[in-house]
C-alpha cells in the first residue's frame, strides 16, 4: 500500500486541480438512466487503457515488453465491426476478434520464448505489421456499424454504471485472484527475475511467457472492442494509436519495474487513471492544443521524479542540510548513487 502512496497523491492533486477550474467536476448526476459526470467519463474513457495496462504489467513483470498492443486494439475492433457489418451476430464477432487477438499474442510469445528474439523487436514486428493488417481488414475505410448490442461493450450502461468499467472490474478481479491468490504471480515474477534459473527450478518459463503475451493481447483485444464500440465504428489507422506507450507509462507510474521480477496490479490501475485524468484535465482546463504534449510531459516527468526515492532523498536532504557544509552533502549523494 505504501508503494501506492505517491501515485494516489498525484491522482488526488490532478483531481483537485480540476475542481479548482470547474467546481462541478466532482458532481455525479443521473441522466438518461445512467450516471453522468466527469469522474464517470474518466473511468469510461480510461477503461481501455486500464485493460491494456493490466496485460502490459504481466508482460513487463516477466522482463519483456509488448509494443504491439495498439495494433491488436485496431485489429480486434476492425474484425468485430467487419463481422457485424456483414450481419454476423455480435457474439460471433466478439469471439472471432478475441480469438484472433489471443492468437496474435501467442505469436508474440512464440517469437520471444520459442525463438529467443528480444521482446522489443519481436513485438515491434506485430506493431508495424498489425496496423497494416487492420487496414487490410477495413479496406482502409472507416467501418460504421449500427448494433445496439455491440454498442453496450464500450458505450453502454448496466445498472447505471458504464459497462466498460464493469468489464474492467471483472478482468482485474480474475487477474488479481490468479496472480495473488494462486502461485501464478510468483511464477511470473520468478521468470522475470531469472528465466533460466526458474526453468532449472522446474518452472515452465516458456509456457509462462507465451501465456502472458497472449493475456496482454487478449486485454488489448477487449480494449479494441470497447474503443470501436464506443464510437460504433472501426478505424484501422487511428484506433489504439500510441496506446502501448501510455500503457507502459501507466505500468511504470504504478511502480512495476521495467527490469521485471515484480509487479503491482493496483499501481497499474492508478497509473492508468492518472494518465486518463491528465487527458481530461487538459480538455477541461483548456490547455491550448499546441502545448498539450509539453504539459503532459511536464506532469509525467514530475510524477516519475517524485516517485523516485533517490530523487526525494536528494531534494529533501539538500534542503535539510542547506546551512551545513556542502561537500558533506555531495559526498552522501555520491555514495547513494
Amino acid at each position: 500500500m505504501r508503494r501506492l502512496l505517491w501515485p494516489l497523491a498525484v491522482l488526488a492533486a490532478l483531481i483537485l486541480l480540476n475542481v479548482a477550474f470547474s467546481p462541478g467536476f466532482l458532481s455525479i448526476q443521473m441522466r438518461e438512466g445512467h450516471l453522468y459526470g466527469s469522474l464517470i467519463d474518466i473511468l469510461r474513457f480510461g477503461a481501455p487503457l486500464i485493460l491494456v495496462s493490466l496485460g502490459m504489467t504481466l508482460v513487463i513483470a516477466t522482463g519483456g515488453i509488448d509494443l504491439s498492443v495498439g495494433s491488436v486494439v485496431a485489429i480486434s475492433g476492425a474484425l468485430a465491426c467487419l463481422q457485424i457489418s456483414e450481419d454476423a451476430s455480435v457474439f460471433t464477432a466478439v469471439v472471432l476478434a478475441l480469438g484472433l487477438s489471443v492468437l496474435l499474442g501467442a505469436w508474440n510469445g512464440f517469437l520471444v520464448a520459442g525463438i529467443g528474439i528480444q521482446p522489443i523487436i519481436a513485438t515491434l514486428i506485430l506493431m508495424v505489421a498489425g496496423r497494416g493488417l487492420a487496414q487490410l481488414i477495413t479496406d482502409g475505410q472507416i467501418i460504421t456499424v449500427n448494433s445496439p448490442a455491440y454498442k453496450l461493450i464500450g458505450g453502454g450502461y448496466l445498472l447505471t454504471l458504464p459497462f466498460g468499467i464493469l468489464l474492467v472490474l471483472v478482468v482485474l478481479g480474475v487477474t488479481a485472484f490468479l496472480t495473488r491468490r494462486l502461485a501464478l504471480g510468483m511464477l511470473i515474477e520468478s521468470v522475470g527475475g531469472n528465466a533460466e534459473a526458474s526453468r532449472l527450478a522446474g518452472i515452465r518459463a516458456r509456457g509462462i511467457i507465451v501465456m502472458v503475451y497472449a493475456f496482454a493481447a487478449l486485454c488489448a483485444g477487449v480494449a479494441g472492442l470497447m474503443i470501436s464500440s464506443n464510437v460504433s465504428s472501426a478505424d484501422g489507422n487511428n484506433a489504439g494509436l500510441w496506446i502501448e506507450l501510455d500503457a507502459i507509462l501507466a505500468v511504470v507510474i504504478g511502480g512495476t519495474s521495467l527490469a521485471g521480477g515484480r509487479f503491482s496490479l493496483g499501481g497499474t490501475v492508478v497509473g492508468a487513471l492518472i494518465i486518463q485524468t491528465l487527458t481530461t484535465t487538459i480538455y477541461s482546463v483548456g490547455v491550448p492544443p499546441e502545448t498539450t504534449l509539453l504539459f503532459k510531459a511536464l506532469v509525467v516527468a514530475a510524477v516519475c521524479l517524485i516517485q523516485s526515492p533517490s530523487f526525494r532523498d536528494k531534494v529533501f536532504r539538500r534542503r535539510g542540510t542547506a546551512a551545513g557544509p556542502r561537500p558533506a552533502a555531495e559526498e552522501k549523494v555520491r555514495v547513494t548513487a
Binding site: S22, G37, Q141, I142, V231, Y283, E290
Partner: protein
C-alpha cells in the same frame, strides 16, 4: 554451393535490370510518338481513407473518359516511393506528371529532373514548399481557408437576427496540419468581426471519431452553455454527436453542428438532422485534373492555383444528394 547460388542470383538480377532498361526504352517509343495521345504518370499518397480512395477512383475514371493513358502508382505514405515513381515516369518519358505530395518538403531535386526532361508537373490536393514555383505548372486542390470561411458565413447567416452571445466550441484537426490551421484561420476571419460570437473552447480531436467524442464529453461538462460546435471534419463531428446524445441533449437542435468534408456518414447524419451544415471538401478532382493536363501538354498557360469545385450542404440538400454519394 553458396557461391554458386549467389552467382546465379546476381546473374538473374542483372538480367532483370537489363530487361527493365529495355522496357523503359520501349515505353519511350510508344508514348513519345506524335499521335496526340497523352500519357500521365500519377503518384498517389496512399489509400488511408475513404476520401483518398474516392480521389484515386476519380482520377482513374476521368483519365479513361478523357482518353488519357494513366500510369498509376501508390506511394503508401512514403516520400521515397513517390520520388522513385516520379523518376520512373521521367525515364518512361510520360507527357505529364501529377502527384499528391506525402510531405511538403524535399521535392526540389526530383522536380528539377522533371523540368530538365521538359515534363510538366501538376500538384494535386497537397502543396509543396519549394521556393521555386517554376518547378510545377499548377496546384489543383481545395482551399482550406475558404472552407473555414464558408462555415463561418453560414453561422453569421444562422444567427443574424439575435444579439445574444453565441458560444462556440471548436474541434480542431491534427495540430499543425495544413487543413487544421487553415480551417481555423478562415473561420476565425469571418466570425471575428462580430463580438457576439465567442469560441469558448478549442481543442484538437486528431480528425478521429474517438477523440472527437472524448474531447466533446469533457467540453460538455466544463462548459454547460455550448450553442455551436465547429468540427474540422465529419468524423470528429460524428463523435461529438454521440457525446451530446449521451448528455441527454439533441444534436442539431440544442447544439448546432457545422463540419467539413461531406463523407457519406457525415451526409447521413446531416440528412437525419443531427448535423446542421457541411462544407464540402471534394476528392473528385479527376475531371479538372485531366483538363489541366491537356492544357499544359498543349503548352497553354494555366493559373498557378486552381481550386477544386466544391459546394456546401444544408439538411435538405443532403437528403437529395445522399443517394448518389460515392464516398
Amino acid at each position: 554451393m553458396l557461391k554458386r547460388i549467389s552467382t546465379l542470383a546476381l546473374a538473374g538480377l542483372t538480367a532483370v535490370t537489363l530487361a527493365g532498361c529495355g522496357g523503359g526504352g520501349g515505353g519511350t517509343g510508344a508514348s513519345g510518338g506524335g499521335d496526340g495521345s497523352i500519357t500521365m504518370g500519377f503518384s498517389q499518397v496512399g489509400a488511408e481513407s475513404g476520401w483518398r480512395t474516392a480521389n484515386t477512383k476519380s482520377v482513374q475514371e476521368s483519365a479513361k473518359a478523357a482518353g488519357i493513358t494513366l500510369k498509376f502508382s501508390d506511394a503508401q505514405q512514403k516520400q521515397e516511393n513517390q520520388i522513385k515513381a516520379i523518376r520512373s515516369y521521367i525515364q518512361q518519358k510520360v507527357d505529364v506528371i501529377a502527384f499528391s505530395p506525402v510531405v511538403e518538403s524535399g521535392w526540389d531535386t526530383v522536380l528539377k529532373e522533371a523540368r530538365n526532361a521538359k515534363i510538366p508537373v501538376i500538384l494535386t490536393d497537397r502543396a509543396v514548399d519549394s521556393k521555386d514555383t517554376g518547378l510545377y505548372k499548377t496546384f489543383l486542390g481545395s482551399d482550406f481557408v475558404e472552407e473555414g470561411r464558408k462555415a463561418g458565413k453560414w453561422l453569421l447567416e444562422e444567427y443574424k437576427s439575435g444579439t445574444d452571445p453565441v458560444n462556440i466550441v471548436e474541434l480542431q484537426g491534427t495540430t499543425g496540419s495544413a487543413p487544421a490551421n487553415d480551417r481555423k484561420a478562415g473561420f476565425q476571419e469571418v466570425i471575428g468581426g462580430e463580438a457576439k460570437f465567442k469560441i469558448i473552447a478549442s481543442q484538437t480531436g486528431d480528425f478521429t471519431r474517438a477523440k472527437g467524442k472524448e474531447v466533446m464529453e469533457a467540453f460538455l461538462k466544463a462548459h454547460p452553455d455550448i450553442d455551436v460546435i465547429y468540427a474540422h471534419n465529419d468524423d470528429m463531428g460524428l463523435g461529438a454527436i454521440e457525446a451530446i446524445e449521451g448528455a441527454g441533449k439533441v444534436p442539431g437542435k440544442d447544439i448546432k453542428i457545422i463540419t467539413i468534408d461531406a463523407v457519406k456518414d457525415g451526409m447521413q447524419a446531416l440528412a437525419d438532422g443531427k448535423i446542421n451544415y457541411i462544407v464540402e471538401c471534394s476528392p473528385l478532382l479527376g475531371p479538372q485534373l485531366m483538363d489541366l493536363a491537356k492544357k499544359v501538354v498543349k503548352g497553354e498557360s494555366v493559373p498557378a492555383r486552381v481550386v477544386t469545385e466544391e459546394t456546401t450542404f444544408t439538411q435538405e440538400q443532403a437528403k437529395a444528394a445522399l443517394p448518389q454519394r460515392q464516398y
